[in-house]
Amino acid sequence: MRRDLKKGVIFALIVVTAPFIFRYVIFYPLEPLLRAGFFVMLAVSLSLVVGLAGQISLGHGAFFGIGAYTAGIMATKLNLPFFLTIPIGTLSGIIAGFLIGYPVLKLKSYYLALATLIIGIATYEFFKAADSLTGGEMGLYNLPNIQIGKIEFYSPFSHYFIVWSFALLTVFFCDFFSTSPVGKRLKALHSDEEAAECVGIDVFGLKLKVFVFASAIAAFAGTLFAHCSYGTIYPGEFDVGLSIKIITMVVLGGMYSVYGAAMGAVIVSLVPEVIRRIGDFFYMDLTQVTHINDIIFGIILILFMIFSPEGILAKKEEKSA
């Protein structure tokens, strides 16, 4: 318990100091860090489904998109304020999670992976095609910032602290969750579904609940994204690549650890910036190389699968346990 607390405090301190270092020490824009905040929420919520319950989902980005678009549509078409769009967007994630999870979670392993992958593709295509609702390829624009009374949160700093405070909450809560009675049951069904049934665990119901729960967190992150993305969202941000990126983060950080997933999220979302910096150093624009980021992710993933399939944090945890 004490060790967890220490981990949490260190993590929180890094989160609080990082933007100041970025801005005043290495003179770098805050966008990558802001992005990392969203990815932390996505990766951590997915790690409950993939790491804890052992159910592979390759379509987690879909719920992020559903949350973002629902909030965005509510805000632009109906002019609803943020304190309504955020709950409605989150609710849409819960409903979508239930409707998708119910049929899909009857499948196992490869079939489940394939089905969730298709869900991810289908929602992306829907965002592109439903012109009148989602604005098609162009997406939605003029999305309002979060505004309380006369104070409008439009600066990168304010976005950063809004997003990261929820990201931290997500990490702490999910970490607590994974050691709770429900978390233990999820680990049990991960090990052996039949044996779990035989000790009285409602395997399907539990899988569905954790899937819906993770979808809700992803959709919530999406609603924040809609309000902290400088006024626009477009389908390209919610393509299959997004879901693959999220699962890369979970694998990279260690399947069984919430903090690992959070770390994986930060690393993966900062990789493109590091590549750009390296390019600048050699006076080359590496970002012009097609799919350079995907290539690097691919290499990282392969290296991890070979040398540390359990992720970054996994080995350390085992030693200290």
């Binding site: 809560f173 607590f176 969750f177 709770s180 009675p181 429900v182 978390g183 233990k184 049951r185 680990k187 049990a188 991960h190 090990s191 052996d192 039949e194 044996a195 779990a196 049934e197 035989c198 000790v199 009285g200 665990i201 409602d202 395997v203 609940k209 729960f213 069984y256 346990a321």
Partner: protein
């Protein structure tokens, strides 16, 4: 207490169980014998509904349990162990038992999400309960160990502790002595007798006739999916000659 009424189970053209009728009364220890492939484990799977029967029904305390999901059968008090144990290797020894405690199963998502402070005492309660079951099988000293680091015999005992944590009224053992050495078997016998004395009805698959003789009040013999014999251990012993001829495996059925 438990009634199996005309249960049949076919796997394609293969007959695993055919028209099996049997009854286990409250407080009994009943043994189930038969050669490999006789349908013993299939019968257990049908009772706990891991495999639905092709025909027939199973009743527990007069209530039909065929058609319920396996976890519902467990919650009604009909609990089984597995021949190959199947511990949850992602969990520690103690956690393996904790997940089976009914209070743990009743703790839902909402409860975990909101009253943080109450959960601590609940966790403590579940842990304590799990400890008592570990003590019954004599594994309390290994509680914090990783479950996959246990020996096979210890895993067997862990499987029993896990089943006990479900608070069974009716316990099905699937070959609990398989793969254990003499000393481990005698420990196991004590544990099973202890469980029986606590008021649990026991139905046990066992190849080891000697063990059944000292435990069971009644033995049922299954062959090729059919019940061929039923009676007290003494009677089965008398019939042993017939059995040996019937199964044609003298050496394996030694007393």
């Amino acid at each position: 207490m438990l009634e199996v009424k005309g249960v049949s189970r076919y796997f394609g053209g293969l007959v695993a169980l055919e028209d099996v009728f049997l009854e286990v009364r409250e407080g009994e220890i009943v043994g189930l014998m038969g050669p490999n492939g006789a349908g013993k484990t299939t019968l257990f799977n049908v009772i706990t509904n891991l495999i639905p029967p092709s025909k027939g029904e199973v009743y527990f305390k007069g209530e039909k349990i065929t058609g319920l999901a396996p976890h519902e059968v467990t919650r009604k008090g009909v609990v089984r162990t597995f021949q190959n144990v199947r511990v949850f290797e992602h969990l520690t020894v103690l956690e393996n038992v904790e997940v089976a405690v009914p209070e743990n199963n009743r703790t839902g998502f909402l409860q975990v999400m909101f009253p943080f402070f109450k959960l601590n005492s609940l966790n403590g309660f579940i842990e304590e309960k799990a400890y008592t079951y570990l003590k019954i099988v004599g594994l309390a000293h290994l509680a914090r160990k990783n479950s996959s680091s246990l020996t096979f015999g210890q895993q067997r005992l862990l499987g029993i502790a896990r089943a006990l944590a479900c608070e069974p009224e009716f316990l099905l053992f699937d070959e609990p002595s398989a793969g254990l050495n003499r000393q481990e078997i005698s420990e196991l016998l004590k544990v099973i007798e202890n469980i029986h004395q606590r008021g649990t009805t026991i139905f046990i698959i066992e190849h080891n006739i000697g063990m059944l003789m000292s435990l069971a009040q009644r033995i049922i013999v299954l062959d090729r999916g059919k019940k061929i014999l039923e009676g007290t251990p003494e009677r089965i012993r008398e019939e042993k000659k017939i059995l040996d001829i019937y199964f044609g495996r003298r050496e394996k059925c030694s007393v």
